[in-house]
Symmetry: none
Subunit: 199 residues, 4 copies
Amino acid sequence: MPKIGMREIRQTQLINATLTVIDRVGLADASLALIAKQAGVSTGIVSHYFGDKNGLLDACMRQILLDLYQRLQFHRERATDSPQMKIRAIIDANFDTADTSVPVLKTWLVFWAESLHHDNLLRLQRINDRRLYSNLTAQLRRVLPETQAKAAGSALAALIDGLWLRLTLSPQPLEQGLEHARSVCYQNLALWLNSAPTP
Amino acid sequence: MPKIGMREIRQTQLINATLTVIDRVGLADASLALIAKQAGVSTGIVSHYFGDKNGLLDACMRQILLDLYQRLQFHRERATDSPQMKIRAIIDANFDTADTSVPVLKTWLVFWAESLHHDNLLRLQRINDRRLYSNLTAQLRRVLPETQAKAAGSALAALIDGLWLRLTLSPQPLEQGLEHARSVCYQNLALWLNSAPTP
Amino acid sequence: MPKIGMREIRQTQLINATLTVIDRVGLADASLALIAKQAGVSTGIVSHYFGDKNGLLDACMRQILLDLYQRLQFHRERATDSPQMKIRAIIDANFDTADTSVPVLKTWLVFWAESLHHDNLLRLQRINDRRLYSNLTAQLRRVLPETQAKAAGSALAALIDGLWLRLTLSPQPLEQGLEHARSVCYQNLALWLNSAPTP
Amino acid sequence: MPKIGMREIRQTQLINATLTVIDRVGLADASLALIAKQAGVSTGIVSHYFGDKNGLLDACMRQILLDLYQRLQFHRERATDSPQMKIRAIIDANFDTADTSVPVLKTWLVFWAESLHHDNLLRLQRINDRRLYSNLTAQLRRVLPETQAKAAGSALAALIDGLWLRLTLSPQPLEQGLEHARSVCYQNLALWLNSAPTP
DNA sequence: TATGAATGAGTGTTCATTCAT
DNA sequence: TATGAATGAACACTCATTCAT
């Protein structure tokens, strides 16, 4: 009987290796040879577990989204049930000092760009894209009129993505950048919440 | 007897072809053969005018930045000299219905991601990145205290980039998307301007 | 405690699976993975029972030849003992409507071509090749002079192989093709038999 | 300006190299690396001139058929206009001592087998297959009733193919084999022609 | 100035084979 | 006896680059 349970172990191993390599050399130069070497396995194994390279990349993207989702759940659960605190939890999840690293930031952007020409990835991206907007708007609706809630949701979602995007280019230390990003988001959020018509 | 002025003609021709091809198939599949075919020239010509493929990509990036810069100049000149109108001009330049097309959006993002692993491109990106922030902050300083001007500048720059980013994934008609983006920016700008301490 | 008789069962199972797969995708694409899947066993089993892939192919070829041989025996036994009827039995064995299927035809040809570059297969092919000729000539000698018997044997052997060969390309229904082949053989046989010098 | 007229030269060069390699190691082992080495060029050149390996194999098959066709034309033109001589010309073309070599024989069979699973090749094969039959039948109709002409056509076509097939396995010297093949065909042809109802 | 023929290293992928279980 | 995980060489194919013309 062959070893069992290898599937999951190897898949995690390969996904991590892929993200590491993409971070190091970029997607264009992330060959299977490099990835396999990083994972300490042979090249043939990829087809065994992921079918082909696209299968591997798909799995990587899902992993990234899953990581973000879990971070979101973690922060959401700890937040008190006010719109402001719930939205702050979303912000915190996106700029979590503990779990956000340069590789994560870069890989995220790389996949965003890649998804423009890969239908599978595009679908995954769009789902996540809309989720951020919905989550924000759902909370905002509790204190703002519909129209304003939508505008605020769009603004905050774009603000979060844009700050993330700009962080990728930033030469400053990551921790500082994350703190600054959270701060800017908080302030911008406050502005929108204060715009509520005081009855 | 060499033809005069061919250099510039060919360069423009090749840059446009490159952007078209990148839009169509993505950077990964944008081979010189495809680009040359699109431009209606032979493959060998690229080395003649750009040295190698990286030289061509550099030139493409400069072109994109130049286009944006010219759009910015155009809108800036027509704006009345109030901080709000000057900032609106920046917003308008970034979401100009006339000059912003899907190819431009996509190529922009592609180059952003690519720059993460190419020093030449990274330098260009950072310059542009900082310019947007400085331009915004310079105007905001006229009506907001330093600290707040910086926060507002960060927020608006990220908001613009984030909206652009999200537009690339959006399945909605571009014109609608651009109008919505401008509107969200205007509203967010208004919030920051109103946050000024009334003396 | 090893199961008794598994060897023979597995071997038959794998040989049949191989022939099926070769018929479906051709020899070039008949991978062990595909064959194992078709047989409902694991890939590793092949080395266990046949050593390697060549061993399996050898066994397949022997099976094909054995099938033909058994068909020949069957028809020969039922034929009355005249040269004409014995030769007709050979013809019938080669174009037996009951046992000849498209897969059998195709696989036969595939192995013929393959044998040109595999000594093991070549040996098997030649034995069979000569047997057809000898069987025919042996009967023909009973009614024709030596020289003519040889010529007729050559002609009929080639006719049978050629008709089989052409059947593989034919788009017409197999049953029709087989009947036509038998008919043409019978007629050609009659011509040779009638060429006997009437003493 | 690049060298002109290279296309045709290289194509011939590569087709010949391919046939040589197939003859030597079989189709399964005829890698592009081997073919390129045989032709004295680089591997990349194949895609340049034939698109891919299948394109090259197609071209090889066309070449083989063209060679046979030209041999046929040659012999046909020199034959006097009697059915017997015209048919003998066909036979001679198929067993021409000057132009028929072991490589040609083997490659022919290899392509026949390969065509069973490649639609492009199958189409080419069938055209040729039918042509042999039509050419024979057309002549036979001049001296035999329709039904008999068809039967004789089928028989002679199959006889030619079958003799060719059996030649591929034969260990005897080729020239002897070819002579024997012609002789058997002639005799068999004579039998059919004599079967004509004497008016 | 411009061509496109030619190269050859590099890629993703396939696959027979091995082997620990 | 049987599995399927794992290997790594071999493969077809791509492509930036070079260069004779």
